[in-house]
Symmetry: C2
Subunit: 400 residues, 2 copies
């Protein structure tokens, strides 16, 4: 814990927001910061949760502990609807209270003595949970890199994908696609390289697909790592209802641990993960699970959720156009709710602070996602169309 | 993970139950096994959750991420209603998805290099999460004790409380009262000894009060460790809505980490726990939190919950009377939903298997809670009155 010196990124931003609001009590702050959904959940989903909750007061409707691994029906719906034709069995799907919690449980499973690689930049949760588990040395200044972690640089210059011939072997590789924060979705060829690399090295890939529902329909970018042959033998996939169905507060996610994923001694990783789930967790809220099933079970539910994702994707378009019109180097957006903007020669926290001071718009400093994010900011599409448009107007006056 | 060889107790029982049901397809199995609530949740609570869930489909009612530490109102209600006059501040209450998950997060916080003590017998989660974190050596056969853990024997012979003058110092002491499985609630004098012992040794007590709502009104048994002077400087308390409001499936609990609890270097434990919560967890389901608030906010809610606890307590009385009438040594029950029955000279799993075979009643073998539980079974009051009475009739014919 001592090594984890800096504030966690989002609480830090939240503190700065409060300070700003105190300084400017009348300012209408617009948050394009934390990736928190703002659109209401479709009523087909909330009605299912509402009815289930009410039923808990009746002898017929009451349910206590469910299986720690999640309700059978939900596991089946995920296997069939999220992973069609990928050979995922319902027993390989472990329902959770969100991808962040699964990262922690996976890091508990891996323990202190593993080596890990992460994209740079990437979501801070992989590294931070590794630091808590004692996998790393201290943080180096001023980069903020932790000793012992392999940072795989993902920048515009390399198509946001590392040259794997130069990456040393690690036991575990955390890989987020579409990436948070860059918004880059790995191509089929890139994921093929990743899977081959892991197979050659006997590494486990933890593939975070929390933003996969934002991938465009062009077809050349896989929505799951299991679209790539051989992935079942090397990859765990974690994902979430948060960004896909607005469940950030309701809390629901899942992890897929295929039966073919084995340790060097031939035992199944899934057996140990099951044990961690049963020991450290007692299952996701039954109410949330009913909501998750309503998202997936019917075409009506799936269409309702797609419409919400579509709204955020329109916001992303507005953001990309705004920054492009300002002559900025802008990435992401096509396959993700995040836009990644470069401010050459500037420090991310300075850009963040200047934008907040001048426009009352919250963004996220790219350096919060790793040293490779320095000089960028992440702008989130999670807000109402109206506020996104207003924020873009302010940004345009300020940056033009 | 290698060391954690045996199946986790409750999944193991669940497998045996399935096998039994397969062998006797027509048998009406009655579970007095896992401590899973069966009574419906009072409608004042489910209505609140139901309404909130429905509101998530409206712009006014929608909420995304809440604070990782929980909703302010709920933290406040717990501080005021669960800990009246104990000086607990709302900021010291961390809302969670259940006590078992908090045990895992606390073990993550403590890390691999701490020494721990547990009651023997006790809830297996403390030890199992410690084994996953790498705190222990391997399991010794046949006792099942893990090397490196201090087992504090709690038996009828010592009033279910260890002689602390013979217990070596450890960094952390897990203490569950009312105890699961023995049903013993520590007296004020016993807790005073425990707090003094921890203060002298510079140990942290993790006090699990998940069953505290079952403590009788006699007044000589504290419902919280914070009733004992000095506890704020040594104790974390974890607790849950599961057994108190029937939230085993809804998932809601909390941990109290007082500001005065410091590491040897003078830094606050709460600061690090906050960091673990923000890194490894994203808050309890918002729907569950609304339900939790409805349990506590009004006298009507509190009374509704008390009535449910009262029903289980009547079941406990039936169970105690049944075993007593059979001439068995029987403990617990007064202050807990568990009854602890001795079968001298027999092995717990044999007793479990024989009862299941002959009466189709599920109990829990005492040895599943540690070597000190050998020769006992735990019988749970969590079932309908009708089924408890039926189970008692069967047990009487078999054991008489």
């Amino acid at each position: 814990m001592e090594k984890l010196r800096n504030g966690y990124l989002f609480p830090e931003i939240s503190m700065r927001r409060e300070a700003h609001q105190k300084k400017y009590p009348d300012a209408k702050v617009i948050s394009l910061g934390i990736g928190d959904t703002t659109e209401p959940i479709p009523s087909i989903i909330t009605s299912a949760m509402s009815e289930y909750a009410l039923g808990l007061s009746t002898p017929e409707g009451y349910q206590g502990y469910g299986p720690e691994q999640g309700q059978k029906g939900l596991r089946k719906a995920i296997a069939e609807k999220v992973y069609p034709n990928m050979g995922i069995r319902d027993t390989e799907v472990f329902i959770s209270d969100g991808a962040q919690c699964d990262i922690a449980r996976l890091q508990m499973l891996f323990g202190r003595d593993v080596t890990i690689a992460v994209q740079d930049p990437t979501f801070p949760g992989y590294v931070d949970n590794g630091v808590i588990m004692g996998q790393t040395g201290g943080a180096e200044e001023p980069s903020g890199r932790y000793a012992g972690i392999e940072y795989m640089r993902c920048a515009p210059e390399n198509g946001f994908f590392p040259d794997l011939t130069t990456v040393p072997r690690t036991d575990v590789i955390f890989f987020c696609s579409p990436n948070n924060p860059t918004g880059h979705a790995a191509s089929r060829e890139q994921l093929r390289q990743l899977v081959d690399f892991a197979r050659r090295n006997g590494s486990i890939v933890v593939f975070d697909s929390a933003y996969t529902s934002y991938v465009s329909d062009s077809g050349d970018k896989p929505r799951s790592i299991y679209e790539v042959p051989g992935a079942r033998e090397v990859a765990i996939e974690i994902s979430s209802f948060s960004k896909f169905a607005g469940f950030t507060g309701v809390r629901l996610g899942w992890a897929v641990v295929p039966d073919e994923l084995l340790y060097a001694d031939g035992t199944r990783v899934a057996r140990d993960f099951d044990r961690v789930v049963c020991t450290s967790f007692n299952g996701a809220s039954s109410v949330a699970q009913v909501g998750g099933l309503a998202c997936l079970a019917t075409e009506e539910g799936r269409e309702a959720v797609r419409r919400v994702v579509g709204k955020y994707k329109e916001n992303t378009r507005v953001l990309v156009d705004t920054f492009a019109a300002l002559g900025k180097e802008v990435y992401g957006g096509d396959d993700s709710p995040y836009v990644w903007v470069r401010f050459p020669g500037q420090r991310s926290w300075d850009v963040f602070a200047e934008i907040l001071e001048k426009t009352h718009v919250i963004t996220v400093p790219g350096s919060g996602f790793g040293p490779g994010g320095e000089g960028f900011i992440r702008v989130s599409a999670f807000n109402s169309r109206e506020r996104v448009v207003e924020a873009c107007a302010r940004l345009t006056s300020f940056l033009a």
